[in-house]
């Protein structure tokens, strides 16, 4: 891919009473434009995505009615990565030189609801009526099975959460700024066995944006562009185990994460051993642990040793979720993937301050995953 990121913006995730998702999206976009030293009038195209906002392209009323193509899309938790991919593809296709991708959301408190009717997500109403249409059940069952098959310990779950809140405590923009003791995490109320209260992220509010351009013109705008080496979007194949599945085949197929990751490494011409800093989807600790293997960083079952030696901490051999990830930032679904990219860009620029990974990281990696079996992976480098 010959695409560069020249501006980044975040409307910090958390709770912002009285501020609409549109306002947060506009805030993140303006921050990204300022970071790039550009104006909205310089944008040749835009993409935006959100679960809660019906038409995020109405941000143009605040940003400027400049007549540009303004695409909207929503792909669940993979929205952020796909917003960037769609922007990159449009730039590569010659629609323009410079574009912006904006993710925004504002969710009510509590676990995500499946809405009034399950028919809108291709399921029968009975599935919700009988108490089965809940994401935490899936997270718990998939984690339970993975622990059973690969010997992952409860201690590894707790230490993964502890690392997330530790990173959140040193990240100015994080929502959860309080580090938690191991015992506080281990003794927290059980939500869905084996996952406890602090093992989960919460829905939240916020926005994130990136200004992108063709790589050959990047130096016009900034002296330190971050290059998008790969951005891959994959959906499930028959047999992968996904949330909200009333039935699955006995045959197992790899998660879309595995396929997006492999394709991204191939596109970037690197391997997992070349990654210096990574952000992976940690809707709960089980998925951060499984994603360590699905993204190729370690083998199934090696996570116990990795976590015990602190390998994924800031300063470890592969720092993961350096801003506290979803656990410490919550998940505004439309914005979450771009928050990962924002954090990796800070790290690669050396601008992450109190949560900066040492030794000048050069290659970064992001990965989102969610319903209905979707994943986006990006590879970024200086």
């Amino acid at each position: 891919m010959d695409i560069a990121i020249i501006g980044i913006g975040l409307y910090p995730f958390g709770r912002h009473e009285g501020v609409s998702a549109i306002e947060m999206g506009v805030g993140a976009a303006n921050t990204a434009l300022k970071d790039a030293g550009l104006q909205w009038t310089d944008m040749h195209l835009a993409c935006a995505g959100s679960l809660e906002v019906l038409q995020p392209d109405t941000m143009n009323k605040h940003l400027g009615l400049t007549g540009i193509p303004f695409t909207t899309l929503y792909n669940g938790c993979a929205t952020g990565g796909n917003l960037m991919l769609t922007t990159a593809n449009a730039l590569a296709a010659g629609v323009g030189d410079v574009g912006i991708a904006i993710g925004l959301d504002k969710h009510p408190r509590g676990a995500f609801s499946v809405g009034d009717t399950l028919e809108s997500i291709g399921l029968g109403q009975w599935y919700g009526e009988t108490g089965l249409a809940l994401n935490p059940q899936f997270f718990a069952m998939k984690t339970q099975r993975y622990m059973h098959d690969h010997g992952i310990t409860e201690e590894t779950l707790h230490r993964t959460a502890q690392k997330a809140f530790q990173n959140g405590s040193v990240t100015e923009t994080a929502w959860r700024r309080k580090a938690l003791d191991y015992d506080e995490i281990a003794n927290a109320p059980m939500v869905c066995d084996p996952l406890r209260k602090y093992h989960f992220c919460n829905p939240s509010e916020g926005a994130a944006a990136v200004v992108m351009c063709r790589a050959d013109v990047a130096k016009r705008y900034t002296s330190n562009p971050i290059y998008l080496r790969a951005d891959v979007f994959k959906t499930q194949t028959y047999g992968s185990f996904e949330t909200l599945s009333p039935a699955t085949p006995v045959r197992d197929a790899p998660s879309p994460v595995v396929r997006a990751s492999a394709a991204a490494y191939e596109m970037a011409g690197i391997g997992p051993e070349d990654v210096d800093v990574a952000q992976v989807q940690d809707t709960e600790v089980g998925h951060e642990i499984m994603h360590m293997a699905e993204n190729g960083f370690c083998k199934d079952g090696e996570q116990n040793a990795w976590i015990a030696e602190g390998a994924t901490k800031i300063g470890g051999r592969l720092p993961i979720n350096t801003d506290g990830g979803l656990l410490a930032n919550g998940e505004p679904i439309g914005a979450s993937g771009i928050r990962q990219v924002y954090e990796v860009c800070l790290q690669l620029r050396g601008d992450a301050g109190t949560h900066q990974v040492p030794n000048n990281p050069k290659v970064g990696y992001t990965q989102v995953y969610g319903f209905p079996g979707v994943s986006c992976v990006t590879v970024l480098s200086t």
Binding site: D116, T130, G131, V191, C192
Partner: protein, 77 residues
């Protein structure tokens, strides 16, 4: 284990909610079916254990009729 009352559109009564187990049951016919489990003590459920199909009453509708669904229970074998 579903330890809290499911949100809308759950038909069970949130006030009298009793936690229930959830699992995927592999059938001999070659499919895995997601189901409520009658056992709600996680310590008594094991991956690979034998299960059998039962009908479970988990709520009551506005007219006082029982709301039933399929569920699986350990065979004890």
């Amino acid at each position: 284990m579903q330890n809290f009352p499911p949100p809308h559109p759950y038909l069970g009564d949130a006030r009298s909610f009793v936690p229930f187990g959830v699992g995927y049951i592999e059938l001999a016919e070659g499919v895995r079916v997601e189901s409520r489990l009658t056992e709600n003590d996680a310590g008594r459920l094991k991956i690979g254990m034998q299960m059998e199909l039962v009908i479970e009453t988990f709520g009551r509708d506005a007219d006082g009729n029982d709301v039933v669904t399929f569920a699986f229970k350990p065979t004890g074998k």
